[in-house]
Structures are given as C-alpha cells and as structure tokens.
C-alpha cells in the first residue's frame, strides 16, 4: 500500500497546469515524429534533450516520456494507412491494419489500434506501479543464454504461421539473418558482409529495409493492380470511432493475453518488436478467427498494438531500476537522466521518490492525454485516404526517400531503400513472406550475439541452454511452439481434409 500512497503523491506532482501543458506539447510532437517514418521517438527525444537541461528533472522526464507515448501512437498511423511501419514494433500492425484501411474502414482500424494500445500501456503502468522491485529482480535473472532463449521463443511463435511455401519462408528468413549480420560484429569486432561497400560497415537499418519492402513494394503492387482505396465517406464520423472502441471488450481475451506477452517481453530483453510479432503469432494460432487474420481482422490489430504498448511502457522499468535501456528511446532518456544529475539504477526509487513517482503518475495521465489527442486526429488521418492515388503516390515515394535518408544522413540508404522496394514487389508478387524477413532483420543479430556470448561462457557447449530451470523452460516452450504447426499439419494429413488449401490466405 506504500506504493499507492507514493502514487497519489506522484499525482499531485503530475497534475499541475505546467506539467499538463508539457504533456500536451510532448504528445503532439511525439505524434508528429511517430507519423513521419525515419524520424522516430529517439530522434525527437534527443532533439528536445538539450532544451531540458535547465528544467526540473521531473518536468523534463514528463516532457520526454509524453513525446515517447505520442510517438508510439503515431507510429501505427502510417502502418495502417500506407503499409509503411514507422517503427519496427508497428510492422505487425500492418498485417491486418492495412487491409482494413484499404477496405474503406481506416477510421475503425485507427480507433481499434489506439484503443488497444491505450489498454496495453495502462497494464504496463499498473505493472510498474505495483511490481517494480519484483520485476527488477526477474530481469536480473536473464543472462546471455536466457536472452537467446527469449529470442528463440519469439521466432518460434511467429514462424510457420504464414500461408507461404516453406522453402520460400526459409529463404526469406535466411536473407533477413544475413542482412542483420552486415556491419561490425559485436562479439568478434570484425567487419562482416560489407561486400566491398565501405559505408555498409554501419549495417543496414531496419527502417531502410522496411520502407522499401513495405512502402515502395506495396506502392508498386497497388499501381500494377490499378488499385484504388475504397471511397471513404467524407463526413467526419465520430460515431465510428466510438463504435470501434465499444467493440474492444469483445476481444477481451486477446487484450489480456497480448498485454501479458507485452509486459513480459518489455521487462525481459525481447522488447516491443518481439512482443508485437509474438503476440500476433499467438493470437492467430489461438483465435477462433485465426484463419481470417491478414484480411483486415480487428483482433489482428488488437494483438500487436496491445503488446507493443505494454512492452514499450514496461521497458521504462528496467531503465529506471537497473539502468538498462529497454529501447532506443529509453537509452536517450537515460543519457538525459545522467545529465540532469540522476543516476538510473536501484537507488533511484529510494533517493528520488518525487522524480520516480511523478514520472509514474505522469505515465497514467500522459497516456490518457495521448489517447485523447490521438483519437481526435483519427478523422484527419483517415481523410488522407481520400487524396487521389496519383497525388499520394509521389508523396509516399518522397516520404520513403526522406525517411531513409534521415536515419543516418546517408545517400546510400536511399539507394538501398529503392532496391528493397523492388525486392519487396518481387517477393510479394511471388508469395515470398516478408514478415519472417523483417523479424530476422530486427532481432536476428541480437539472437546471434546472445547465442555466441553463451557459447563463450560455456566453452562451446550447448548444455548451457539446459543449465537452469528458467532457460530450459523457455527453450522447451520455443520448441513446442515450433513443432505445433507441424503437428497440426500431420493431424490434418491423417484426416485427409484439405479445407485449408482452399482458403484464401494473405501471405505475410
């Protein structure tokens, strides 16, 4: 109950006029950087950072974290409307969000996404409020073998669920791993797979790959099919926003399950990206509507969005209590903490009560502010769908080009992005799945690092993955998830039903 008292005290700090103003400003800026692909929360936060040096630490962190919430929400907008994920963690949102928007229901898709995201964030904050110290202890139990097991689990829960040909899936996955390996290798310090292009030493950024594969690739498919988004009614339809929100409780199970996956992956090293993919994969497998996933199913938006935000929120916890940033944005904020004279780590909760509880209280308030503001913008964003294709297409190309460039101010990235676009088109056309490729680009090198660190510790023996209960459980759960579709396939073969073969499955 001590926590509850501290939280109430925190609210008295967070709910003041200057702090509420800061939240609104932060959230609005955050939505802007979130919506623009290439610019992300880390950019926005690091730009605001110097401005905060003269502020009270608690005001500064409220501004920066509000920006973070705004960016998390904003990141889903372009995923849903244009199939361009602004952040790695919103890739899974495109799978059902984009088909739904194309189907003439962008308002529903956006409102569903924001509603479930807010729910996920809320669960994350509640977790931080009441279980902070326990959670910090859990996170400490994760060493390299456990890290690897978590990544393995994320892969296992996602792979094998798309409708694509197995060998094509395997090729896509392997290409993703190879792309992730480009650049300097952490474990050996050597340069890998740059193929004679010196600049590639920096690696291939996820954003560049995804904007090409998804953004440009989808544009090419759309122009080829002479596709035009179904007309969206020109009236601002507030009723539809509320209807979509009202339908959320129907997905109660998915909401709770996704929030749990999100919190867990946010605290352990998985992070928001692994969380959203895993949550989508598991939802597809266990949902009654699983077979319709990928065609604009609401639950396919609920699952990744809830998990993404639950993870994004709870990722702040390891930062505060352990000093490990759970995401790139958290890393920037941590730099800020040090400059404000605070030291992230176990003592922060004891030394800086006002700061910590002010921040936690602001997470509740800030998320409410964010969801209200972002819902207000839904009709505006939905209206973007009414711009004629001939006008929006070149603008999307420019957004992708500028986005790719702004990742690290490199012209090479623009060229790479365009190349990825051609590949994205080709792969989509020939039913190579893109999702495993993207997942491998995002967490492939982390999984490899963890595996090789574990091998250094164990002197090359795989026994380390069965050395304690935690890691053994994770690995076994991963193997089980990996074998599940295979087992189902065999059962289906035995029964000789081929209903699945005739279903129209969208290759993701």
């Amino acid at each position: 109950m001590e926590n509850l008292q501290s939280l109430l005290h925190g609210f008295t700090i967070a709910i003041t006029v200057p702090h509420l103003t800061l939240m609104v400003v932060g959230v609005l800026l955050g939505i802007l950087v979130g919506v623009l692909p290439g610019l992300g929360a880390p950019n926005g936060v690091s730009l605001l950072l110097p401005l905060t040096f003269g502020m009270q630490p608690v005001s500064a962190i409220i501004l920066l974290s509000s920006m973070y919430w705004g960016a998390l929400f904003g990141g889903s907008v372009t995923s849903i409307l244009f199939n361009i994920p602004g952040e790695p963690s919103s890739v899974a949102t495109t799978f059902d969000g984009y088909p739904m928007a194309r189907d003439g229901r962008p308002t529903t898709a956006l409102a569903t996404a924001f509603g479930s995201a807010a729910f996920g964030a809320l669960v994350g904050v509640i977790l931080i409020t009441f279980l902070a110290s326990w959670v910090a202890q859990v996170a400490l139990a994760f060493g390299p073998p456990e890290y690897f097991a978590v990544y393995f689990l994320a892969f296992a829960s996602f792979i094998g669920m798309g409708g694509a040909a197995p060998i094509k899936t395997l090729v896509a996955l392997a290409i993703g791993f190879a792309i992730a390996a480009i650049g300097i290798d952490t474990v050996s310090g050597s340069v890998r797979l740059t193929m004679g292009i010196d600049e590639l030493v920096k690696g291939v950024s996820f954003v560049v790959a995804v904007m090409g594969l998804f953004g440009i690739g989808e544009l090419l498919i759309a122009v080829e099919e002479e596709f035009h988004a179904r007309a969206v009614s020109s009236r601002v339809d507030w009723k539809e926003v509320f209807r979509a929100l009202g339908r959320l409780p129907h997905h109660g199970v998915a909401l709770l399950r996704s929030a749990a996956i999100g919190c867990w992956m946010g605290i352990t090293p998985g992070g928001p990206t692994a969380a959203s993919f895993m949550s989508y994969g598991i939802a597809k497998r266990f949902s009654r509507n699983g077979s319709r996933f990928g065609t604009g199913e609401a639950e396919g938006i609920v699952a990744p969005e809830t998990a993404d935000h639950a993870a994004g929120t709870s990722a702040l916890l390891p930062m505060l209590s352990l000093g490990i940033p759970g995401s790139a944005t958290a890393a920037v904020m941590m730099g800020g903490l040090m400059i404000w004279g605070l030291n992230p780590g176990p003592m922060l909760f004891v030394d800086q009560k006002d700061f910590v509880w002010g921040l936690i209280a602001s997470m509740y308030v800030g998320n409410i502010v964010a969801v209200v503001l972002v819902l207000l913008t839904v009709p505006v964003f939905a209206a973007l769908m009414r711009i004629p294709f001939a006008v929006i297409a070149p603008l999307i190309v420019i957004i992708c080009v500028v986005g790719a460039y702004s990742v690290s101010n490199s012209y090479l990235d623009i060229v790479l992005m365009l190349g990825f676009g051609v590949f994205g088109y080709l792969f989509k056309k020939l039913h190579y799945p893109l999702a495993p490729l993207v997942l491998a680009i995002v967490i492939g090198d982390k999984a490899e690092d963890a595996f090789r660190q574990a091998m250094l510790m164990s002197k090359g023996s795989l026994g380390i993955f069965f050395a304690n209960r935690l890691v053994t459980t994770l690995v076994l759960a991963g193997i089980a998830l990996l074998l599940l579709p295979l087992a189902l396939q065999i059962v289906r073969l035995l029964r000789k039903t081929d209903e699945a073969a005739h279903e129209k499955v969208r290759i993701i």
């Binding site: 880390p42 950019n43 936060v45 690091s46 950072l49 110097p50 040096f53 996170a139 400490l140 139990a141 994760f142 060493g143 390299p144 650049g183 300097i184 290798d185 952490t186 474990v187 050996s188 310090g189 050597s190 340069v191 010196d198 600049e199 030493v201 920096k202 690696g203 390891p318 352990l322 000093g323 490990i324 940033p325 790139a328 890393a331 920037v332 904020m333 941590m334 730099g335 040090m338 400059i339 004279g341 030291n343 992230p344 780590g345 176990p346 003592m347 922060l348 030394d351 690290s408 101010n409 490199s410 690092d449 660190q453 250094l456 510790m457 002197k459």
Partner: protein
C-alpha cells in the same frame, strides 16, 4: 519549374541566413554538423550534445549546430563519413580512442590519419568492478581467486578498450579470463548484477547507479593517483576512496579513454584553429565543469603536439597488446 527553383533557391538563401563577409580569421558560414560516433544516449553522443548546448547558450558561433548520430559499426560509420567529407570544415567528428584503435584490429575503411585532430577533451577512467557480495575485498584477493579458476570478464565491444585492458590484466597478473563482449558497458553492469559474469572494467558513469544501489562495487582504479574527491557515492564512500590498482599490487598505473574531437582531412590550418579555440571556450564554461562532474570524467585538454604524442603513445601500447593477442589485421 524554373520559377519554382529560383523561388526555392532564394527562400533557402534567406532562411539560411545569407552569406557573411569573409574576414581574415576563418569563420563558419553555414550550419555546423556535429557527428557523434555513437548511438543516441551513448557517452560520445552526450558529450557532443553537451558541447552543442553550451555553444548555443553562449552563442560561441553565429551558425546553428546540429548533432547527427553515426554510431553504426562501433563508431566506424562516423569516421568513414568524416573521411568521405575531406575538405569540409562543417563536419566535426566526436569520438574516442576508437579512431586509431579500430583500424588496427578490424578491416574498417578509415584510419585516424584521414582526419584532422582537434582535441582530446575529457578522459574516462576505468575501474575493476565485482558483484557486491563477492568475497574479495581487494584486487589482490580477486586475482588470487582468478588464478584458481577462469573468471568471466564482461565488457563493451570486442577488441576495444575494455578487452585491451582485460588482456593487460591477464598479462600483468598472469591469470586467464574468458572475455564476453556486450553491446555496452551498461549491459555488462547488469550482467554483473545478475551474477552472469564475475567482473568488468566499466567507466565510473557506467556503473555509478549500480554502486549506489549496492549491486556492485569497485575494487581499484586504473589510474596513477586516486580519483578526485567528489560527493559521496554511497553513504560511506566516494570515488576518492577507491584505491589505485597499483596500490593493490596490480601494476597497471594508467589506462584511460579520451573523448576526441576531429575535423575531416584536408582542411586549412585557420579552420582547425577556429575549432580548437571554440572547444577551449566551451571548456571554460561552468556548464562544462558541471557536465564533467556529473558524468564522473576527468577534465583534460590536449591539442596540437600534445594530442599527437598521446595518440602515438597509446597506439604503440595497443599495437603491442593486439600483436600478442593476434588481433592485428593484415
């Protein structure tokens, strides 16, 4: 089309502030780009942003300063970018000793000679850290235990400063470590708190929070004399209470990591002089002192020949360690 481009050109001209008349001493005529060879939030990034905010606050130059992160490839991205910008005095590269150490041990497409050295502005110290409840009280105890079984030593990156220091300890104390590279010192610190590794050699700022929170403690500092006295970190101890490693019988008297500032190659001496002077002005401000203190670094300013000598000396040293370990690239 023509009208548009003309209009655009003139608006850009206006917005960029127009051209200033040239004077004898070189002055920047357009925005300056600070290239941090680290991701957002890293030590080098924080330094670049601190310098940026001081310059902006005191209006040390008329032109805006923009910080750009190019931390890919352990910083190689930023240095390669600097090399490619030869002759461009509007790119200032912020790095570490990586600039000369990395080309020794991996096939990166730059060398420090491709850049123009400006200054080394701050030094990070290194300490030997163990878990709070570890049985060793001194570095001597630790090394005795390390001789009996092979300890796991964590650190940031591979064949970089942390591993070089680890290998130096191995040689001086005649022990064997398993070195496990992580992405950053902060990650190594958490791994130590969780008991997955036995020790690491983090900088003060990377483990400050952990020390305060009693999850790990420093055994000794790799410096010639004790660290300067500052505010107490724990209830009873501060940085100056940490003995030097030499005191405890681990004969590595000095090991530190400088934060370095560079211009691309082929810039004029006047341009170099402008930035040396600019950094000197930054260093004289109270904000700089505050930044140094809060990040637990040591204030230094090496430029010109002193900086060159420092690089040469460090290079010899790293070459020796790298040669013994078989890391040198052909």
């Amino acid at each position: 089309m023509k009208i548009v481009s003309k209009l655009l050109l003139s608006t850009t001209l206006l917005l960029l502030g127009g051209a200033l008349p040239a004077t004898a001493a070189w002055k920047p005529q357009k925005p300056i780009e600070f290239v941090a060879t680290a991701g957002p939030g890293g030590g080098t990034d924080n330094l670049a942003r601190a310098v940026q905010s001081i310059i902006t606050k005191y209006k040390l130059t008329d032109q805006p300063v923009v910080v750009v992160n190019k931390g890919g490839g352990s910083g190689a991205e930023g240095y390669v970018y600097g090399k490619a910008s030869a002759g461009d005095p509007y790119k200032v590269i912020f790095g570490t000793s990586n600039a000369w150490q990395q080309p020794l041990v991996s096939k990166v497409a730059f060398n420090y000679t491709d850049l123009t050295p400006i200054a080394a502005m701050a030094q990070d110290e290194f300490l030997l850290w163990v878990k709070q409840d570890a049985p060793y009280k001194t570095a001597g105890d630790f090394l005795k235990a390390a001789a009996a079984s092979e300890f796991k030593m964590g650190g940031a990156q591979s064949k970089d400063t942390d591993e070089v220091l680890t290998r130096m300890i191995e040689k001086v104390a005649k022990v064997r470590f398993t070195y496990i590279p992580f992405k950053s010192g902060a990650e190594a610190a958490v791994q130590l708190a969780g008991g997955h590794i036995d020790a690491h050699v983090n900088n003060p700022s990377e483990s400050l929070g952990q020390w305060r929170g009693s999850t790990q403690r420093p055994l000794c500092a790799f410096s010639a004399k004790r660290l300067p006295q500052g505010p107490k970190v724990t209830t009873s101890e501060g940085w100056s209470d940490v003995p030097t490693c030499v005191e405890q019988g681990l004969a590595i008297s000095q090991y530190e990591q400088p934060r370095t500032v560079w211009l691309p190659g082929k810039v004029s001496p006047e341009q170099t002089a402008f930035y040396v002077d600019l950094m000197k002005q930054v260093q004289a401000t109270p904000e700089w002192k505050e930044y140094i203190e809060k990040t637990s670094q040591v204030d230094t300013f090496l430029t010109g020949k002193a900086f060159d000598d420092f690089i040469k000396q460090d290079l010899e040293h790293v070459k020796q360690v790298a040669g013994e370990q078989g890391w040198l690239v052909k």
